[in-house]
Symmetry: C2
Subunit: 330 residues, 2 copies
């Protein structure tokens, strides 16, 4: 039995074809054993192997160069450079911006062997606080319109360095996928007078079968029209457009909720590689009642968890209520 | 040096970061040697291993079941079924359509060992004619709004069966990526009074450095803001919205042009796996002056040819004029 489902935010149709749904034997067998420790540029004592840090957390009054708990450095091979002068121009009918931007790496822990799923709550809070700090610094540069924050864990999710880290990228324009969410949310707001993400949450609570877990501030669920099997969103229950506006209590609750999801994936899906992306409103976005920030987590499983079928149509092998049941109850 | 470039049709920004551009040692080392011949369900003599054919070309008056040159069969594991009754419904705020559609496989040759790049012009014409024939049959079903035609060659491009074949999918809705092109083209038409694809071709002829080859009817080029390195488009020089309207002379010219491109990729990029997609207007699309059909070819190279960087921003390691020079002159 297959079904075409339409994402209510961006209008994307996906095909859910569960004739051969993913089962535990399809889950990750990926080897995350460590091979880079001897030369890891992200380990304490090798600070000279990265560009000079732009931020660091040293606890208990420590000041030594290697006494950090968390450290943020510019990417050694940045695709975009903060130093480059921003220049917009038209080449005939084409629009071009020079590579002005920032590309930073948050080294989340001084422990080479520690996966984010195994962080303590206080370690996770350090990371989330750092995301907010870097956001604020970069957002103050008027050239930037959007800050992308994401994490790749594991080789098959694109992580080339195994030491746990996330990436922060500042852009002189808003990426298309965010613009699409915003445009969809604005159209919905004009038609229905409310936030499409809030309506989605109401529907999730009404249907219940795609919910995974929740705490005071956050809820995790598998969205109705996912692009990938076992795609999971973490969303604040109350409307909020900007991640950077999350207060201290909220950061604590997010640390718990993100750890809960990463641990469920580790336990239920055999510790897969994954990506997560923070979707937040553009810097200085004016219609805060339309957009609702959230985190999207995509685990990589051994069998294809979804693929593009010709012109952008996604095929997904598992219904989200089945994925949610598995992540909830296993 | 990196550059942000905006696709003039759909508005997607991509980052071209050629600090480490692809060089020949990065090109495909993929092994396309054949392993499935003994049991291939697409070989003559094993017609009972596929669902009954819906079309076939038997030359010179042959009538035997195995005397075909080309054969089209329903996919044995279709994600969408023509027999399923189409039902649209709303589940709360979500839109759903039952899995009504068609999913066919064009077995392009009776020769298990022949890659499409090695087809004769007359063999390629048979394939292109078949695309048009299947399009016409499926487009006559009023439930269908769009026909997707595409080909995967090689394991890393998603081909699970090595015998040369393409896929034809009929959908009860228009996929988002096509809708985006159409919306972008309609906006451009309203603003500038012409076809954005025609303007793009003018610009390509003016700039010249992204052109690869051409004949009377078609031109191949690497688009200004590609999603992937060595992405190539084949486009009719004269405005035409629907591939199915291409006449007999045009089909001959397209056969030459597609063979030219596949051979250039085979020679210059070490016979990579690839996908190609036919982008054509939706069935019964009313604004034929806005849309311009074309073929997009994406080779798969060993090193990443582009990746999504957080929320949908594509990073591409090679400028299209360098890719075009390589495909033109090597």
């Amino acid at each position: 039995m297959s079904q075409l489902r339409r994402d209510p935010i961006v209008g994307r149709w996906v095909v859910i074809d569960n004739d051969h749904p993913l089962v535990p034997k399809d889950f990750s067998k990926e080897d995350h054993s460590l091979h880079q420790k001897a030369t890891c540029p992200f380990c304490p004592g090798r600070e000279n192997r990265t560009p000079p840090e732009v931020d660091a957390i040293r606890l208990n009054g420590a000041t030594g160069i290697s006494d950090w708990k968390l450290r943020t450095v510019p990417n050694k091979f940045p695709a975009l450079l903060k130093e480059e002068v921003m220049e917009k121009k038209a080449l005939g009918m084409f629009d071009v911006i020079s590579g002005h931007g920032a590309h930073e790496v948050v080294i989340e822990t001084n422990d080479h062997a520690k996966q984010m799923a195994d962080f303590s709550v206080s370690e996770m809070i350090l990371v989330l606080n750092q995301y907010q700090r870097r956001y604020k610094v970069l957002a103050a540069d008027h050239a930037f319109k959007y800050i992308v924050i994401f994490k790749n864990f594991g080789t098959s999710a694109g992580a080339t360095i195994e030491h746990s880290h996330s990436q922060v990228i500042a852009l002189p324009m808003v990426p298309k996928s965010v613009l699409e969410e915003i445009q969809g949310a604005e159209v919905y707001h004009s038609a229905h007078g409310g936030c499409v993400f809030c309506s989605m949450l109401q529907q999730e609570y009404q249907d219940r079968d795609r919910l995974i877990s929740e705490n005071n501030t956050f809820v995790s669920f598998c969205p109705f029209a996912p692009r990938y099997a076992f795609e999971t969103w973490i969303m604040p229950k109350e409307h909020q457009a900007h991640f950077v506006d999350l207060d201290e209590g909220g950061i604590g609750d997010l640390a718990h909720q993100l750890l809960d999801m990463l641990n469920r994936m580790k336990r239920c899906l055999s510790n897969p590689s994954y990506n997560f992306y923070l979707h937040t409103a553009p810097i200085k976005y004016g219609r805060a009642n339309c957009y609702h920030w959230h985190i999207e987590i995509i685990p990589k499983l051994t069998r294809s968890i979804g693929f593009e079928w010709g012109t952008g149509l996604q095929i997904v092998p598992t219904f989200p209520h089945e994925a949610a049941r598995f992540l909830r109850d296993s």
